[in-house]
Symmetry: C2
Subunit: 605 residues, 2 copies
């Protein structure tokens, strides 16, 4: 059976050979039922559901889109059946607490399952992703009453959830929001305001929607320090759990977008009739801090959406390249030499190998990050936990910013392999480009990810987390140096890590000296080179394992896959790290014209 959406062999390789997931998680009581066999079974089921049921809704979801008619939002017809299948199969709350109706699955396993789901139809999966995010907030900050009232229904897909941050004048700058909350005698708050760009904001898949909503309590300080978090149901939930009256949350419009048409991007008016109520989550004015918890999860989820689409695009491309016959081989000079499948053309192979290399390197990173979350959850002491959290924090903007950029590149390559057919709606590639594009923007634009990485996660962190990462990379470098054929790659990666450290020092120095703008002019380049080094790390790690397995002797049918792992490490480290080195040179010695130039020199006026 042709691999579609994600290469199964590669998922198994990362879970078991690279990350040794079963051994790590099953040592702990909470995950005692997870072993290699159960994990593989979960992936099997996810794959079946994704390939047989969800993937077929991808195109219809794009074409039909969501509609707002007579105040009611409808999703694409094919989504309804699949939603029920996800509910029945208990795929809504995979990594949510078993205590509250979730499956309690290790994050890393849910991530692997999600590889299939998001690659099949991520506009659909956003209804689940946002539900998980909102439920996490309620679990972390809600009272016992609220948990009982909301969580089980949310974790089983009877209800869904969303995240209400953005307002017309408060996009990335969440602190500028103006939605207000006024405390009522019964302890609830009356909410009034307008939110826009609300993914999964309204729909007909579930009976109710719980909106995790940021608002400003009357008299609160300006900026992010005056924002509070509320749970605002679409339909009021009575204390006995039954549904009450509509809660004055009205969808006023759906956005027409470039992609993810299957997901309803809603503009919501809260309390336009003065009847919208919400429950405070956590403390007053501490809403931003709470929301960050969800946002970090959402950022990782965004990286996964993008990489999953890139994987689908790559597999479409490789399968197409094996079928599509055009031109004779470049080394066949006879005029009557036959035309060959385009996989035989060097530049097509460049596009395919570039795509494969990024997809697999990023898959390793995302699963590694998933496992970090599990390790934090089961950490024995605070010191270990702090170290892991630092590393997770450092890798989060890479998983979001770098991975969505590269995934978009891969989707564009996947379209390019199709030639003219890539631009045509009859084929899947152009939708993947359009859908993936949003991942570079939402959950904090990639520019904001770069600022987070350089400012908060590197300079303000004193470089601790980056050094923790460097220590992990060094382990792989040392391992590679012992393996024939990988020594040179180990040395090159080691040199790149050192240069990256120099670049970080140089940027940190600029910031300390008050030349903040000069440093920030390179925040994006910094994110790109950190990401490149991480790709080198993940790919060399894979190559070490593959080379060791090949040396030991392995099943015949795995040999070519493993040989590919070794070759793509060479490909990336020799062909992409020199480019990263060029970027590091610009970080150290480049021009800061972007910040020095007069506004008027930009023209346009």
């Amino acid at each position: 059976m042709a691999q579609v959406i994600a290469e199964r062999k590669d998922i198994d390789f990362v879970l078991h050979d690279q990350l040794n997931v079963a051994d790590i998680v099953t040592k702990h009581d909470e995950f005692a039922e997870y072993n290699r066999k159960t994990i593989d079974m979960i992936i099997n089921e996810a794959r079946n559901l994704a390939v047989k049921e969800l993937l077929p809704t991808q195109k219809e979801g794009d074409e039909a889109g969501c509609k707002l008619e007579n105040g009611k939002v409808t999703t694409p017809e094919s989504f309804k059946r699949v939603w029920e299948l996800f509910k029945e199969g208990e795929w809504i709350g995979t990594h949510m607490s078993a205590e509250w109706g979730g499956q309690g699955m290790p994050h890393v396993v849910a991530t692997a399952a999600g590889d299939y789901f998001s690659g099949a139809n991520f506009a659909f999966m956003m209804y689940i992703g946002l539900t998980n995010g909102a439920a996490s907030l309620i679990e972390s900050f809600g009272t016992e009453k609220l948990k009982k009232l909301f969580l089980k229904n949310m974790n089983t897909g009877v209800w869904t959830g969303t995240m209400l941050l953005t307002e017309p004048e408060a996009g990335s700058d969440v602190g500028a929001l103006t939605t207000t909350a006024v405390k009522n005698a019964d302890g609830t708050y009356s909410i009034t305001g307008n939110k826009i760009f609300i993914s999964s904001g309204d729909h007909d898949l579930a009976d109710n929607i719980i909106h995790a909503t940021l608002a400003r309590i009357e008299g609160a300080p300006a900026g992010t320090g005056g924002i509070s978090l509320f749970a605002v149901p679409k339909i009021w939930v009575n204390d006995d759990g039954s549904l009450g009256e509509p809660n004055d949350v009205v969808c006023t419009a759906l956005e027409e977008k470039m992609g993810i048409h299957g997901n309803a991007t809603a503009a919501l008016a809260l309390g336009s009739k003065g009847k919208c109520r919400g429950y405070l989550l956590g403390e007053e004015n501490k809403g931003m801090r709470a929301m960050f918890l969800m946002m970090n999860g959402a950022r990782l989820h965004t990286g996964q959406q993008a990489v999953a689409c890139a994987s689908t695009s790559y597999l479409n491309a490789i399968n197409y390249a094996r079928e599509r016959v055009q031109f004779r081989r470049a080394d066949a000079f006879e005029k009557d030499a036959p035309a060959v499948p385009i996989i035989q053309h060097p530049d097509v192979r460049r596009m395919l190998l570039t795509s494969k290399t990024y997809v697999e390197g990023m898959r390793s990173l995302l699963y590694y990050v998933g496992l970090l979350i599990d390790k934090i959850h089961i950490a024995k002491d605070e010191k270990e936990k702090a170290l892991l959290e630092g590393l997770l924090g450092f890798l989060t903007p890479i998983a979001k910013g770098y991975c969505t950029d590269r995934a978009y590149d891969v989707c564009n390559l996947g379209m390019q392999v199709y030639g003219g057919y890539g631009f045509i709606k009859e084929y899947p590639q152009e939708q993947l480009v359009r859908d993936t594009r949003i991942t570079m923007i939402y959950e904090g634009t990639n520019g904001i990810q770069a600022l987070d990485l350089l400012g908060r996660k590197t300079v303000m962190d004193g470089g601790k987390s980056m050094m923790a990462m460097a220590a992990e990379i060094q382990k792989i470098v040392n391992r590679a140096k012992e393996i024939e054929g990988l020594k040179e790659l180990g040395e090159k990666l080691e040199a790149a890590v050192k240069k990256l450290g120099d670049a970080a020092m140089s940027l940190g120095k600029s910031m300390m000296e008050g030349k903040i703008f000069n440093a920030l002019a390179f925040s994006y380049s910094f994110m790109e080179v950190v990401g490149d080094v991480i790709m080198g790390w993940m790919l060399l790690w894979r190559a070490c394992i593959a080379a060791e397995l090949l040396a030991k002797g392995t099943r015949k049918k795995d040999e070519k896959y493993l040989d590919g792992q070794v070759k793509q490490a060479h490909y990336f480290i020799k062909n992409f790290l020199p480019i990263a080195n060029g970027k590091i040179e610009t970080i150290m010695n480049g021009s800061v014209a972007a910040v020095e130039m007069d506004d008027d020199s930009f023209g346009g006026k």
Copy 2:
């Protein structure tokens, strides 16, 4: 008045300060009426028409698209009026021969006017672009009778034209086509076959369409050596010029595409009732050679479409960045510091300056190429002509392949500056991304451009044209070395040109030694670094002029524009050439895993 579509000051700078167009072209009788004043007048009129009439059709064209109903293709309603305005204003055949109803405008001036037109709505402009291409073929290869029959109507927009190459099994590999031609007693040919992806293939803007059609005459050799070119009218044209019967060219479908919805991409059935006739253009079996003439023009036109969209996207972005207020400045630490327009944020400035730099560098290249065509046209002797033609041939794949890639990047940056609004159809940025994407594919995918550059234009050319270019660059390097503040940039560019030469030598050597696949694995990188060096050349050239004007003293209102020219040369040469150097290193010492890897190692099966 805000600059939209294209920065007028910059167009003037390239035409007059950089390329000295008026002096060059008006020395020649044919262009005697063109001087700075007339050229500026033409640009004024083009700008007015583009901004006031064409730009407003951009969105409607995208939304309404083209429709095939009852065998009739209709274009967006707003296009009809504008088509008449283009006819009235004589904007259809701008650079076509005055002898045959065109305006006989220098190519470089038409290119500058086209900057506004393509940036306003290139789906619309494609009806004109294809018409020009087909008319060029008839002018070059048609008999006197055919010229009289077709050209005036085509050059004045009474009729249009297209280019019928692609078939389902013959996309990039044109030589695989199967449409047949059988000679009739009256000298015409009966044509039978199916063509797909025909841009402007059918529509309701004009009374007739002349299809420049590739087909294989019965008994012709296989491959490209057996292809002939025909003029196939949609409606038969009687010898007295009047319209006769429909010529059995039937639009069987319109493609649903990612973008350029305003242009009808038709599937055409020729001769399904056995009644389609065409006239041979040129000699039998020499059709590919003839078609290449048109294709080169079409490739340059494609580069222009993309760069024009990039320019529009940039100007939208800079104007938006001045208005959109989000976040306080990065160097304002007080909590109550006011939020500022996003142009004040370093990473936004990075996106803006990157965009501006590419748009302007590419504009210089495209106008330079336009002027080359004029210089070839008016060349005094064969030697000069051959040199110029070599240079034009070398620059064509860059103008198409490199420029469309970078233009797409710029459109993506333009979307990113808008944040979430960039993804929404209400704003113009997402359409520019979708429209521009096709330019990387059609008229020969960018991978094919890279092969053309490395194989035909560099190695097979013995490096002559590349050396001719290097000599031109050296003139600018020498000039920069004499200017305070530009010496370092001159040295860096000089070093990059030298390294590029080494890379070309290295690739040529591989090919001579029969390691063709190893060389072709880097054809794309080669195109990218040639393009980067050319950007460095064009931008340093601009900076030299700007620095000289500033030193001489210039009008106050031009100072900031000129200072921007100097700064962006620093920005590009210091921040982008090091990355190109990294790519050159990979060309010289990189991994050829892409061609060495076993097909099975790519997975997917």
